[in-house]
């Protein structure tokens, strides 16, 4: 196992694109958080941007207020997961484009070892991204009376699971389609298709589809913030579905490898 880790580490650590995209992901979130806050202030704060009082104002609203801060920042960060997904797609499809996966197999990696190496990479990206979210929220969150700092912290594992699922979906599509642009295009198309399918399928079915599960883990918190409805939905069902999908996509990858997909 150490052997496989060293192989993956050599590939990733020396790849400049990895650091650039990973860095962009980490750095973009900070200005985005403040932009989100100023947007919330402008629609729900005391006064609008031109100094006019807002009719629907919610006194003291802020995305940084605990316990909602965890959910608000996790929701915002979940949009930036797409950057990590693109990075991961590039890392996987490169191995097909440059036939290095084929070479790795020839040199003696088994299908399980190949998948284990990428699984470690998924866990690393997911863990670092989640830790960053945790640190950022802990630093920026504003305590409120009668609310413990960690009351809404369940949004952090929800963020972890949603990225975990997203990367596994991307892994399967990358192994299957092999071309960077095609995979990113298909991810977007699939997202849209799942949205459209939601109109025809009964909710009990459509809510079980992978992208919906992702979204349900971390729904848009704006309405909740304005006191309209409570939407936090980090259920055991969704968490279980994330794991089940991840296992399914890994199984798909194993099947592809065992059927000579790497050489086609």
């Amino acid at each position: 196992m150490i052997r496989i880790l060293k192989v993956e580490l050599t590939k990733v650590v020396n790849y400049p694109t990895f650091w650039v995209i990973f860095g962009i992901h980490l750095l973009l979130l900070i200005p985005a958080v403040f932009a989100f806050e100023s947007f919330v202030q402008s629609v729900a704060g005391g006064t609008g941007p031109d100094g006019v009082a807002i009719q629907t104002a919610t006194p003291g609203v802020s995305i940084f207020n605990f316990p909602g801060a965890w959910h608000n920042l996790a929701y915002l960060a979940s949009w930036f997961q797409f950057i990590l997904v693109i990075l991961f797609v590039i890392l996987v499809t490169n191995e097909y484009t440059y036939k290095t996966l084929r070479q790795n197999i020839i040199d003696g990696l088994s299908a399980v070892e190949i998948i284990a190496a990428k699984e470690v990479l998924i866990l690393f990206l997911t863990a670092v991204s989640t830790l960053m979210l945790f640190a950022l929220t802990a630093a920026l969150g504003k305590p409120a009376e009668g609310v413990g700092m960690f009351d809404g912290v369940v949004a952090v594992p929800a963020y972890f699971m949603s990225l975990f699922l997203f990367l596994h979906l991307a892994y399967f599509l990358s192994s299957w389609l092999k071309k960077t642009g095609l995979v990113i295009g298909m991810l977007i198309i699939y997202w849209i298709v799942e949205g459209i399918a939601g109109f025809w399928l009964p909710d009990s079915v459509s809510q079980l589809l992978p992208m919906n599960v992702r979204v349900n883990m971390l729904p848009n918190p704006l309405s909740e913030m304005m006191g309209l409805e409570a939407v936090a939905n980090v259920s055991l069902l969704n968490g279980g579905l994330c794991l089940a999908y991840a296992a399914l996509f890994l199984g798909g990858n194993y099947w592809l490898l065992k059927h000579g997909h790497a050489a086609k």
Binding site: T10, Y15, I105
Partner: protein
């Protein structure tokens, strides 16, 4: 002699098209084995199956007496078609990846780089290498940990004459170290120069397997021409040492009794009053035999 590789009736379909038909091959330890065939005959498919990147439709193979596995592959050095490396990594780091996969210590890297004459370029990125250097790096990678078998698929493809010469020298040096080598090639000249054994396949069917010397044989052929061709024909037919006489264009090809030299033939012909104007010993070459063998299909 023990076989390092046994292939038992391997077949492969791509959709409905059958690219390998019931192929069985044995490679003995220490051989330089040439897998010979025209383009598209199934050579690369065969090697891909042996290295587990393409599954066979039916049939089995075993390496070192056990069914193929990733553990067996670590003892095989391979260069399939083009060299595949991480373009942004240096030669040395690319070899580290291969070394980690094969379970070979990094201390072996300078040795193989030195062997292919790339040690002073170890810090250079793969992407700036010339094709010849890339090919040499691939051979270095294949030699990591001193494999028991080396598989080379069209090793001189796309190289200039200098590069081809260098690769051939390397292969012969490696072979002298006792490493079994399997080379797929459509270059007959190449196989004739370096291989001890050969299998000829066409359209996925095995046409011949045996020693290269066996194909080339020890037939003793001489081309003869004279001004008086009729006199020559009568003279040849009257000579007991001429076992077989065939007319080829404007000359006769004579098969002599083993051990009889062209000089003896010349002397005997002269004795019969025939003066040869052209007398050449013909050495069989693989190209001719290959075309003969593959014509049958």
């Amino acid at each position: 002699m023990t076989n390092i590789l046994n292939i038992h009736s391997l077949s492969k379909f791509y959709g409905k098209r059958q690219v390998l038909k019931d192929l069985s091959i044995q490679v003995s330890k220490g051989a330089v084995f040439g897998l010979l065939g025209p383009n598209g005959s199934g050579k690369t498919t065969t090697l891909s199956i042996l290295l587990d990147i393409v599954p066979a439709t039916s049939g089995t193979f075993d390496w070192f007496g056990a069914p193929g596995s990733n553990k067996a592959r670590r003892k095989i050095g391979s260069l399939l078609e083009s060299p595949n490396f991480y373009s942004y990594l240096s030669a040395e780091k690319n070899l580290r990846i291969a070394a980690d996969i094969k379970g070979v210590p990094y201390s072996d890297i300078p040795r193989v780089l030195e062997f292919v004459n790339l040690l002073d370029r170890k810090k250079d990125k793969f992407q700036i290498f010339s094709l010849g250097m890339k090919q040499r790096l691939a051979i270095a990678s294949a030699l990591l940990g001193t494999p028991e078998v080396l598989i080379l698929d069209e090793p001189t493809n796309g190289l200039d004459p200098q590069g081809i010469y260098e690769i051939r020298e390397l292969i012969q040096t490696i072979s002298r170290q006792g490493i079994t080598i399997i080379i797929a090639s459509h270059l007959l000249d190449e196989v004739e120069k370096i291989c001890s054994d050969v299998a000829i396949i066409k359209n996925g069917v095995m046409l011949f397997q045996g020693k290269v010397a066996e194909i080339l044989g020890d037939e003793n052929l001489v081309e003869v021409r004279a001004q008086n061709m009729d006199g020559l024909e009568q003279g040849l037919n009257a000579l007991p040492l001429a076992e077989k006489v065939t007319k080829e264009g404007d000359l006769f090809v004579v098969r002599l009794t083993a051990g009889v030299s062209a000089a003896t033939l010349n002397k005997d012909l002269f004795g019969k009053g025939v003066v040869a104007t052209h007398l050449v010993s013909r050495k069989k070459n693989l190209e001719f035999e290959f075309l003969e063998i593959t014509k049958e299909l």
